[in-house]
């Protein structure tokens, strides 16, 4: 049977539905890839590791020792979530986000699949948008995995109860859960700027590892600059400066302005690097 004789495949669907369909395919690609699954499992193992160590040693750290929140974990398992997030934020989370976002376009270019997607045809703007959303979904999954496993492991090892805030006030567990959700949301939002940077770097090269490494370097250099008091003038604009501000959710009165400052910085990074990525990707010759 000749395929040329078969009936036309179908009427064009709306742009929104086409985008949704491509996004579904992209999510399957990102979350079905063994490397990405292994990274997620690795991240999820961090709270498990911290919880196990604390449980086995039966040694409550003194306040101020180790990462923030670590001293509270044995008293209330909920804090394992925060301790694990604090442990992952400086390096492991940025690393995983950099790998997926840096791979987004460069990976397709390096495999040569980019040219075939474009001649399908997939409009370049749509492809970039889908790549960005999928990378962000991966970042969200990574943070959620840490928090979810942290909560379960914390509850199993140490039990959960009413949450004692940084101020010493106590709130019911239910509200503590809501605030934990807020923390997860804020940390995911904190990673959007890095996703945008990774996506932009990914449009510059056909070597995915180069884009991934460069993205990690951006996050690390930002952390280094943030640690130099001489540069305090630029600190508020740094990509990573507000990352640990999620502790704000653990005060009696959550200071929204602090959180908004962090979100605004991320929005600015997304705007700048999103625009750069778009202008580069929609005009570049695809010669890979």
């Amino acid at each position: 049977m000749s395929l040329v004789d078969s009936p036309p495949a179908g009427p064009p669907v709306s742009s929104a539905r086409a985008t949704a369909r491509l996004l579904g395919s992209e999510l399957r690609l990102v979350f079905g890839r063994v490397r990405n699954i292994v990274l997620l499992v690795g991240l999820a193992a961090v709270p498990l590791l911290i919880g196990t160590v604390l449980f086995v040693t039966q040694d409550t750290p003194v306040a101020g020792q180790g990462p923030p929140f670590l001293d509270r974990v044995t008293g209330n398992g909920v804090f394992l979530v925060f301790a694990a997030l604090v442990s992952c934020l400086p390096f492991l989370l940025p690393l995983c986000v950099s790998i997926v976002s840096g791979d987004a376009v460069a990976g397709e270019a390096s495999a040569g699949t980019l040219r075939y997607l474009l001649v399908v045809p997939v409009p370049r703007t749509r492809l970039l948008l889908v790549k960005a959303v999928a990378a962000l979904a991966y970042a969200a999954a990574a943070v959620t995995a840490i928090a979810g496993v942290g909560l379960v492991a914390g509850a199993a090892f140490f039990g959960v109860g009413d949450v004692v805030l940084l101020s010493g006030d106590t709130i019911p567990l239910a509200e503590g859960m809501l605030r934990t959700l807020g923390v997860v949301g804020y940390v995911v939002a904190s990673l959007t700027g890095l996703v945008a940077v990774g996506l932009f770097l990914s449009t510059l090269t056909e070597v995915p590892v180069a884009a991934m490494a460069a993205t990690v370097v951006v996050a690390i250099v930002s952390g280094v600059l943030d640690a130099l008091p001489q540069l305090s003038a630029i600190h508020p604009a740094l990509l990573t400066h507000h990352w640990l501000d999620f502790g704000e959710f653990l005060r009696l009165e959550v200071d929204a302005s602090t959180l908004f400052a962090g979100l605004a910085v991320q929005a600015a990074w997304v705007a700048v690097f999103g625009a750069l990525a778009w202008s580069r990707f929609t005009t570049a010759d695809v010669s890979s």
Binding site: L3, G112, S287
Partner: protein
């Protein structure tokens, strides 16, 4: 039995730009390095043609095809596919175009079938309902049904090439742009690709097929374009390109009769008759070959053999460029 053949009629009947499947005007690509990859190419592929796009490696064929598809933007010039200007009309026209560009490329850790699913999902004009059936049919058509579930990374080069063809055939196409479709295929696979091209063309589609191996596609082409060093040296119906005044008649006779034969051929109006080694050769021009035979025999020459030698595309290429076909830039 040569007479009817050179009569391809109005070669520039291809010149009906309205009906062209591919039309470029002054297509030029200057790379950032300053090197000119494609220089003022006016491609004209009539609808329904099988257009052999020939040239050595590095002659600009792939860059031209990339510009046709909107992957690379031209420095100058314009492109029309199926009457639609590219790259602006890509969303509208590219669903009707199947392409194989510079070799197949798929996700190595996905199966052949999963790779086709991804491409089909990316196409806003494809019907999800018929996806499984269409993918199955495309795989069967290129003989990959047995390997459909295998990871792409485990495919042999020939299987990869077949999967690329399956992707191009995922839905009905009006135009196929196949860049080096026989690369990596064994002789059997090459024959299959030729049969596939014929089949698609018989169903009414236009096919542009590029190759650096003339012999592989010479037989299936109705039209030919020859590229060298970024410029299009010649294009048109194949008979016409190959025929351009260089069809030779070669008369075999006894050594002592060769001079006589040269005189007889010259007497028929065949300019350039000469003894060429063991034979006497002359460009045939418009003289019918049976006339040559009669004249030779009639003049008492022992006719031991008579051959009409059509120039191959390779001969044409060598004549156009002054060098062998496989000379890379």
């Amino acid at each position: 039995m040569s007479g009817a053949e050179g009569d391809a009629g109005d070669a520039e009947g291809a010149g009906d730009a309205e009906g062209a499947a591919v039309r470029t005007r002054g297509l030029t690509k200057r790379f950032r390095s300053g090197q000119v990859g494609v220089d003022g190419v006016d491609l004209l592929v009539p609808r329904g043609a099988v257009y052999g796009f020939l040239g050595p490696n590095g002659s600009g064929k792939t860059t031209t095809i990339r510009m046709l598809l909107g992957l690379v933007s031209p420095t100058a010039g314009s492109v029309e596919l199926l009457g639609t200007a590219m790259p602006g009309g890509g969303a509208e026209v590219l669903p009707r175009v199947g392409a194989l560009v510079e070799g197949p490329a798929f996700h190595p850790y996905l199966s052949g079938e999963a790779n086709l699913r991804r491409l089909d999902a990316a196409d806003p004009t494809s019907a999800p309902g018929s996806r499984t059936r269409r993918i199955g049919a495309a795989l069967e058509r290129v003989g990959l049904t047995a390997a459909a579930g295998k990871r792409y990374r485990q495919y042999s080069l020939g299987m990869k090439q077949r999967l690329g063809l399956a992707a191009a055939l995922l839905r009905p196409r009006d135009l196929l742009l196949l860049d080096e479709p026989t690369n990596g295929l064994d002789p059997q696979g090459t024959r299959e690709v030729r049969a596939l091209v014929r089949e698609v063309a018989d169903a009414g589609a236009t096919v542009l097929v590029s190759s650096h191996l003339l012999s592989e596609i010479e037989q299936v082409c109705s039209h030919v374009g020859i590229m060298s060093r970024g410029t299009l040296l010649a294009q048109g119906p194949r008979e016409e390109i190959a025929d351009e005044g260089t069809t030779e008649v070669r008369v075999m006779t006894r050594p002592d009769q060769r001079a006589h034969a040269v005189r007889v051929l010259s007497g028929l109006g065949l300019d350039g008759a000469r003894a060429d080694g063991e034979v006497v050769a002359a460009p045939l021009g418009s003289v019918a070959v049976e006339k040559v035979a009669q004249a030779v025999v009639g003049d008492g020459i022992d006719l031991l053999g008579l051959e009409v030698r059509r120039p191959t595309l390779e001969d044409v290429f060598v004549r156009l460029t002054g060098e062998g076909f496989d000379v890379a830039r």
